[in-house]
């Protein structure tokens, strides 16, 4: 038996590392990957809570036991959509500005 808080702390550590990567990295692709890391961290806590509500059922009807796993599914769909559009934007930016450094992309146009 693993305390639920362990999963939440792991999730928190991964999320903070994702935020740190988002702020510190200058390469636009790595920044994007940091966002994916944050989404993954959130998914972990969703699954942990889904398991928790599955093993500790409550009378409250507003809590659907497996909904955590369904939310992970939605997060993945959003992440996939985001990756497709984001990478297309990155390719478009690279075509015109020839760089992936976010500090060089400082004009309000492509």
């Amino acid at each position: 038996m693993v305390p639920l808080s362990w999963y939440l702390i792991l999730s928190g550590i991964l999320f903070s590392l994702g935020v740190l990567g988002f702020l510190l990295k200058r390469n636009i692709i790595t920044i994007f990957m940091s966002i994916e890391l944050m989404l993954n961290a959130v998914n972990l806590s969703f699954v942990a809570f889904a398991n928790y509500w599955h093993t500790h059922p409550v009378a409250d009807k507003s809590i659907v036991p497996l909904s955590g796993q369904v939310f992970v599914f939605f997060v993945m769909v959003v992440a996939a959509a985001e990756a497709a559009v984001g990478l297309a934007i990155i390719i478009a930016v690279f075509r015109t500005r020839e760089t992936l450094n976010v500090d060089r992309v400082n004009l309000l146009k492509l």
Binding site: L10, G12, S16, K25, M33, A50
Partner: protein, 167 residues
């Protein structure tokens, strides 16, 4: 006991991979360490008994999204990251901010964890079963599910429009 040891092992791999993502200068090394994080997260989902989520974690995240990242890095032939003024600014402002964020999250979790119990290793019989998730997805969450398909469609069209060369 086995559950705890496995959790600690894969949790440490996750954290090590995430730190490596920050430390590495070349985007492809960062991408590969993110793949490691995702794979060990999939194993943690298996520990939680969520086998369907573990499978789609590998198929969608590690197998599709990250392959796309690696593909774009290869396509653009991206080199190692360069240091600029912006990175120093981010370092000065960002690191304390993240420490405060991590501290707050950690404090909330630890102070609230007394009320939370533990999670068990649930057998594959009931928890992660694909049927149960499908039933929930197509009955209770039908509208959000349909909306995500519209979202995906819009994303595809957006990617096609952005990817087109302007003549």
């Amino acid at each position: 006991m086995v559950h705890q040891v496995l959790f600690i092992v894969f949790g440490l791999i996750c954290v090590a991979g995430a730190i490596n993502l920050l430390v590495q200068r070349h985007p492809i090394s960062s991408a590969l360490s993110l793949v490691v994080v995702m794979a060990s997260l999939a194993l943690i989902y298996l520990l939680l008994g969520a086998e369907f989520v573990a499978a789609i974690q590998v198929i969608v995240y590690a197998g599709a999204i990250m392959v796309l990242f690696v593909f774009v890095i290869m396509l653009l032939n991206a080199g190692a990251e360069e240091r600029t003024r912006g990175s120093r600014m981010a370092l000065i402002v960002g690191v304390p901010g993240v420490i405060i964020l991590a501290g707050t999250v950690g404090w909330m979790l630890v102070s609230g964890s007394g009320r939370l119990g533990g999670v068990n290793l649930v057998g594959p019989s009931s928890f992660g079963e694909t049927h149960a998730i499908a039933r929930l997805l197509f009955k209770e969450f039908l509208l959000p599910f349909e909306i995500t398909s519209v979202l995906i469609l819009i994303a595809i069209m957006g990617a096609v429009v952005l990817g087109k060369r302007e003549n």
